[in-house]
């Protein structure tokens, strides 16, 4: 046996899956959770306003809309795509919701259904162009982002739509016991996402198409339909998030949801999902969304202005991606 052989095999053995427990491996694998915990710990030491029930509930409420969008984003990114239209679709669905409530006095359950349908239909357009016309996801959803924003302004004539019925506002501001309704909706959405990705066939196909599309097609999987599904689901969640947002701000705002897509992508990427597709988990996205929320909250508590907050956020996103690339080269 050559020297080369021994050296390289030895090098691999230490870090191999059958190797003994290694702290380095452990830290690399769960780095995001650990960072989240460290930040929480630091904040609870630094300020006594962080670790109390009210503030923690406040964080989850603030996180819920981005969390819902990030679930859909994770699915799209897992197929190897991206959805930039998320923010605009939230605004469009939100404005439609508000008009139906204020001008047409539609029943609230019906309004919810219509809002979700608006998101679904727009998402299906994204999916159609990406999957069946083989257009680049970045460009298709960029076009949708621009066009949907325009539609929002046309539909609302550029003005906020209010007032809205008090019963509806409960969906954004109300609590069930002490838990805010948006948090409950986010939690259920997250569970639905886990169910789809982990326990339904379509979820496995999402991973397969993103991981190796040729292998998926050769295994008899309709890759186009799988992609269509992911964009539809992302669109649908935009409609859902729009309900919460509209109820929380008590109005349909045409300029709402600006840069929401970037927050959703940030949560997804911080959570360890690869932009190349095929690799990532929904719990990572959950932690990513929470991390962003905790950092925002912490900087608020420390009375750091929002200008600095953006710098910190940028550093965190970059750091998370660097850690992730290190984990996968290790």
């Amino acid at each position: 046996m050559g020297e080369a052989l021994n050296v390289s095999r030895g090098g691999r053995g230490g870090s191999g899956p059958e190797g003994s427990f290694s702290w380095k491996q452990f830290l690399l694998k769960y780095n995001i959770i650990l960072i989240l915990m460290l930040i929480c710990l630091a904040l609870s030491i630094y300020t006594n306003r962080f670790l109390n029930q009210e503030n923690l509930i406040n964080i989850t409420r603030q996180v819920s809309i981005n969390g819902i969008l990030a679930v859909g984003m994770t699915m799209v990114v897992l197929t190897g795509g991206i959805d930039l239209s998320v923010g605009s679709l939230v605004a469009l669905s939100g404005v439609v919701t508000a008009v139906l409530l204020r001008d047409h006095h539609m029943a609230i359950p019906m309004v919810v259904v219509v809002s979700v349908l608006v998101g679904l239909v727009m998402g299906s357009l994204n999916g159609y162009f990406v999957a069946y016309c083989r257009a680049a996801p970045f460009v298709v959803t960029l076009a949708m982002m621009t066009a949907a924003r325009g539609m929002t302004y046309v539909y609302s004539k550029g003005r906020p739509i209010s007032p809205l019925p008090a019963d509806f506002l409960f969906l954004g501001k109300g609590n069930l016991w002490i838990v805010p309704i948006p948090v409950i909706i986010f939690f259920l959405t997250f569970l639905l996402g886990v169910l789809i990705l982990r326990h339904l066939r379509i979820g496995r196909y999402i991973y397969a198409v993103g991981g190796n599309e040729t292998a998926a097609v050769v295994s008899g999987i309709n890759a186009k339909r799988v992609k269509l599904f992911a964009y539809c689901f992302s669109g649908l969640l935009c409609g859902l998030a729009a309900i919460i947002l509209t109820a929380r701000v008590s109005a349909g705002l045409p300029q709402a949801g600006q840069s929401y897509e970037l927050d959703a992508i940030a949560a997804t990427v911080i959570g360890g999902t690869s932009l190349a597709g095929g690799r990532g988990r929904l719990w990572g996205t959950l932690v990513g969304a929470l991390l962003l929320g905790v950092v925002n909250n912490g900087l608020d508590l420390m009375e750091i202005t929002s200008f600095y907050q953006q710098i910190v956020k940028g550093v965190i996103i970059l750091g998370a991606v660097l850690l992730d690339s290190k984990r996968h080269s290790a």
Partner: protein, 561 residues
């Protein structure tokens, strides 16, 4: 939920399907199976279950299949033979529903069938082991095995427990000791290939296509595969076996179909044909005609490599190449030949040692210093590293010469670039619609000529060719051989890597043999034979010993990957 079709072990009652419990009786060897099957009471039916006729298929610039016929008889192992680019894989991709034929009909059991996508082929009982491995690396072994036909429980959710259990049974049946819960990414190449084999077998298909199934597995696993094939044969299934390895063809097949340049040549009983005839049918020309005559002598040393080492990859590589000389690099896959030339050229770093061109050492890193010293490298993979597929012919040819073709401000003299590209397009007879045709649209042979042209344009004194004729047709091959010899005749020092023995033997003046990262021998052209090279490349003589080392090579590859 209805279990997905074709799942192993879910339908115990249907006869003639492979049970997943290992059978206690030893599997008959292929020869025994053949004898017991034919004269006995239940002779397999001789009517073909599948017929493909008049199949034509062309890709941009290449007629891959030209009016090809093919038929399959159940209970027989059918080998497909032919050189690279003969059309075997294309025909099988059509049968597996991946490519659609331009013309021709396919009938199964007398009925005409359409194969528009892989799903239809799978549903009709056609499974394929792909030459290029196609696992989803992010998934587990079990998930890969049952991709596209997952087990579901009553609620419609994926039943991971059953999937793991079935995967475990399947792997044991195939004879692989592997935890089905492991991530595919952690597997070695040979383990991945065994998973692919297991996947194809588990479809319980009637027709199983194996495209180079033994390219990455060890001798022991090959034995196991042959046992499985024997069992499939006794269950009256069709196995289509594609390989380049002659000994495997004669060990396992019942009949052989030969293709050449996209045409059907004929189908022969394995027992009625010998190795030499088979090669003649595949190549249909004398090797002496393939390789041009060399009459020129050798001059000064142009390339001198001394004690080149990259830790863990290759070590202490020293050689010299003279003007006009062609040095062949022989060795098994994974011996480190490509890595050596990459370091010589500067694509990859090395830890110690030196490279000299015309007596002057190359300093620093990177490829531009090599190009400025007039060295060129034709890489192994023309699509990923040889060409910029999205650029046109002219820009590709000019690319390594741009530093000469531009002024101090970086402005490119386009007229000169066009002249150069036209000159070499004509002199190499590159078939293209014009200098602005995208290289993507050219055939493999013409793409390879564009690569040669781009290096010729730099007026090289040292040229390195890594597998210069891989995947191109025979006609283009002999043209490329002529070009290489002409270059040498004009005083260029040539290094040639090839995995085709006859190419190394036909082209080289001297041959350096590598094994596991070391240079083990220099052989002169006059004494070189296939056996001698193989002996050096494997380190031991004889076939038995060779199989042992194959296992070592695979181990080495695992370690290096």
């Amino acid at each position: 939920m209805i279990p997905p079709p074709g799942l192993p072990g879910t339908d115990e009652t249907s006869p003639g399907t492979p049970s997943l419990t290992p059978t206690p009786t030893p599997t008959p060897t292929p020869a025994e199976a053949r004898e017991s099957g034919e004269p006995g009471g239940s002779a397999p039916p001789r009517t073909p279950i599948l017929e493909m006729s008049g199949i034509c298929k062309s890709f941009p610039g290449v007629q891959a299949l030209d009016n090809v016929d093919f038929r399959l008889v159940p209970g027989r192992v059918h080998a497909l033979m032919g050189e690279n680019g003969a059309g075997k894989s294309t025909l099988m991709r059509i049968l597996a529903g991946i490519d659609s034929p331009d013309e021709g009909t396919i009938t199964m059991d007398g009925r005409r069938i359409r194969l528009e996508n892989p799903r239809q082929a799978i549903d009709l009982g056609i499974a394929m082991i792909h030459q290029e491995l196609s696992p989803v690396l992010e998934m587990t072994v079990a998930e890969n095995l049952f991709l596209g036909r997952e087990f579901l429980n009553r609620a419609g959710l994926i039943d991971y427990k059953t999937m793991r259990a079935e995967a475990g049974k399947l792997l044991r049946y195939i004879g692989v000791d592997l935890d089905p819960g492991r991530s595919m990414r952690e597997l070695t190449v040979s383990q991945m290939q065994m998973v692919e084999i297991a996947k194809a077998v588990s479809h319980r298909a009637n027709i199983i296509i194996m495209d180079e199934p033994t390219s990455a597995i060890t001798a022991k696993e090959v034995e196991r595969l042959f046992e499985i094939i024997g069992r499939l044969r006794s269950e009256n299934k069709c196995v289509i076996y594609i390989t380049h390895k002659m000994d495997e063809v004669f060990a396992i097949s019942d009949e052989i179909t030969v293709f050449r340049d996209g045409r059907y040549i004929g189908t022969y009983e394995t027992s009625s044909i010998n190795e030499m005839d088979l090669i003649r049918l595949m190549v249909a020309r004398d090797l002496n005609e393939m390789f041009p005559e060399k009459t020129h002598g050798h001059g000064e040393v142009r390339l001198k490599v001394s004690n080149l080492t990259r830790k863990g990859v290759f070590r202490d590589i020293s050689f010299e190449v003279r003007a006009g000389e062609i040095l062949g690099l022989a060795g098994l896959v994974g011996a480190g030949r490509t890595e050596v030339v990459e370091s010589v050229f500067g694509v990859a770093p090395h830890d110690s040692g030196s490279v000299e061109v015309d007596g002057r050492p190359l300093k620093g890193r990177g490829t531009i210093r090599s190009i400025k010293k007039r060295m060129g490298l034709v890489t192994e993979d023309r699509k990923s590293s040889g060409l910029v597929l999205t650029m046109d012919v002219q820009d590709n040819i000019a690319l390594p010469s741009l530093w000469k073709l531009s002024n101090a401000l970086g402005l490119v003299r386009r007229k000169k670039a066009r002249l150069i590209s036209r000159e070499f397009t004509e002199s190499l007879r590159i078939k293209t619609a014009g200098p602005n045709e995208l290289v993507r649209n050219l055939s493999g042979g013409n793409q390879q000529k564009v690569i040669l042209a781009k290096w010729l344009a730099t007026k090289p004194v040292v040229m390195i060719f890594d597998e210069p004729t891989r995947g191109i047709d025979v006609g283009a091959k002999s043209e490329i051989y002529k070009l290489i010899v002409n270059m040498a005749a004009e005083g260029v020092a040539v290094v040639l890597i090839s995995s085709e023995m006859k190419e190394i033997l036909g082209m080289s003046d001297r041959i350096m043999v590598m094994r596991q990262g070391s240079c083990v021998a220099f052989v002169d052209r006059r004494e070189a034979t296939q056996e001698l090279l193989l002996l050096h490349a494997t380190g031991v003589g004889g076939r038995q010993a060779r199989e042992q080392t194959e296992e070592e090579i695979v181990l080495a590859k695992e370690g290096l990957i």
